[in-house]
Amino acid sequence: MPHATRKWEVYPGRNRFCCEGRIMMAKQVGIFYVTVGLIVATSCTFFIFDCPFLAVKITPAIPAVGGLLFTFVLATLFRTSFSDPGVIPRATPDEAADIEKQIEVPNSPNSPTYRPPPRTKEVVVCGQVVKLKFCFTCKIFRPPRASHCSICDNCVDGFDHHCPWIGNCVGRRNYRYFYSFIVSLAFMCVFIFACAVTHLVLLTRDDKPFVDAIKESPASVLVAIICFFSVWSVLGLAGFHTYLTTSNQTTNEDIKGSFTGKRGQEKINPYSKGGVCANCLFILCGPMPPSFIDRRGFVTPEHSVVPSSELVQAPCATSFASVQGNSEVRILNNGKGHVTVSVSNSTSRKQAQLGSHQETKCPEVDPVVSLQPLSTLSASSLQLLHERTMINTDLDLDSLDESASSNPCHLHLESASITSSQTGLLHPLVPRYNDL
């Protein structure tokens, strides 16, 4: 039975998916493992070395409270790290074409100094003018409070920040989990620190020197030191986000000073619900939209894109054209008679860069993953390629190979007729290659 492709397998952003698309994180998760390791190791040390003593000497409620806090911290951490932060799906080709039609381009597309104009749109939100920026990658005008995360390559609704400690963005959908995580972690740090210090102090009863107490329970010292250094940053972060929550701001807006006018004058925050309690209630308990990227849905012909894993690159002799929508076509010649035509979901930010640069050298590319002759592209990939680009995939490899050494970039444009089936997005870029 042929494998039915789910949408997470062809997702265009830079994310990592686990458990068949149920878990979504950023690509780099090394620091997330450090976070989990630190929390689990410190807590386990506390439960093994401090809790038995304190449960007997003071109250059994201490390990119970510690256990509850530990469970809550881990649950909220995993919830924050594994959920969709509020990614806004990229525009469909038709939607992107419609937006392009509405935007006037004053420069001639064939001009050598053509530069796509910065695209913004002004809307009035609760009586305040807000500028919406056009995202070249996602081909949308970002809604208010949305921002594009360059690490994950996604537009995120209510974007707060990208947190490497949790291995994910913090956005509208997972901010409440993030806030719960840092507040509960702050409580737990203080709790464990206090318990560890209490343990050491109780050991010094009966005029025992402190050094003996340390020798008797070195784990308590270790736990106390870790918590002491952690509590400053965690408590500070929890306090900062409490301020943001009460004023209904994101970290992104606070850093940019979106609601701080010139000379310290304050702009009104149009998103505020009026009061501290109302803002807290809205952010922490308010309505939460579901994930819109439907990662476990199946890919239909309307949404089919070639997975980025099929992108192969050579360290030199590359030229590339770009098509509208989510796909980018690369035509590569490694000078050995292999011409690879690959379609990937690379960021179309490169399209804007191409529009403004007169590069003659080939851009730096990642190290070679593999070289794949045309014939090994799957039938669906070739079909998609043909439909999207009208490139004749029956390229004459021998004629290409002869001229490859002279000017491979120029050569590819002569042999491949590239047209865009739907928009003029490609056209400003195609003539450029003749200049190379």
């Binding site: 919830r79 419609d98 807000v130 208010p144 149009p270 998103y271 309505p287 579901p290 439907d294 476990r296």
Partner: protein, 155 residues
């Protein structure tokens, strides 16, 4: 957790009714941010739909959609209690049941299917559920051939 959505898009459903497959034109109704970031679409009647559908029917559809979305994002007592209880259970509650927002989106989906069957498809139009576009736009497909003459319709 199995995907709750159908594998086919509404466009595929339309094709199954015997209509020509690709739409000739698409109209996009954008979001209205004048009252904040809550979900609301501009009720302005697009010029591309002149002569294809009555203005009142279109406005009824838009206004009903906006009302359901407003209900989805309303800070009512029940939604606050739901949020507080979810927090106390370390948000494990969200794994067990649909949120208020999701229930409202299901209402929207049913409404759009009903409107398509009764009003839009007979006029050669098709509304795409905005949730399929991330609640960014309402996409209305315009088909050149009127499928009202096809025998596939049950109404």
């Amino acid at each position: 957790m199995a995907s709750k959505k159908k594998q086919t898009t509404p466009t595929d459903d339309f094709s199954a009714r015997g209509a020509p497959s690709p739409p000739t034109q698409k109209v996009f109704i954008q979001r209205d941010y004048s009252e904040g970031t809550q979900v609301r679409f501009q009720p302005k009647f697009p010029s591309e739909l002149e002569g294809k559908i009555e203005r009142e029917k279109f406005e009824y559809t838009l206004n009903t959609l906006n009302e359901v979305y407003a209900e989805a994002e309303k800070m009512s007592c029940s939604s606050c209690c739901e949020g507080c209880f979810a927090c106390l259970t370390a948000y494990l509650l969200y794994c067990c049941s649909d949120t208020h927002f999701e229930k409202c989106l299901k209402k929207v989906a049913k409404f759009i299917i009903e409107q398509n069957e009764r009003v839009y498809v007979p006029r050669g139009l098709l509304i795409i559920d905005p949730v399929e576009r991330g609640l960014r736009v309402i996409e209305i497909c315009i088909f050149s051939d009127n499928p009202a003459s096809t025998p596939a319709r049950n109404n």
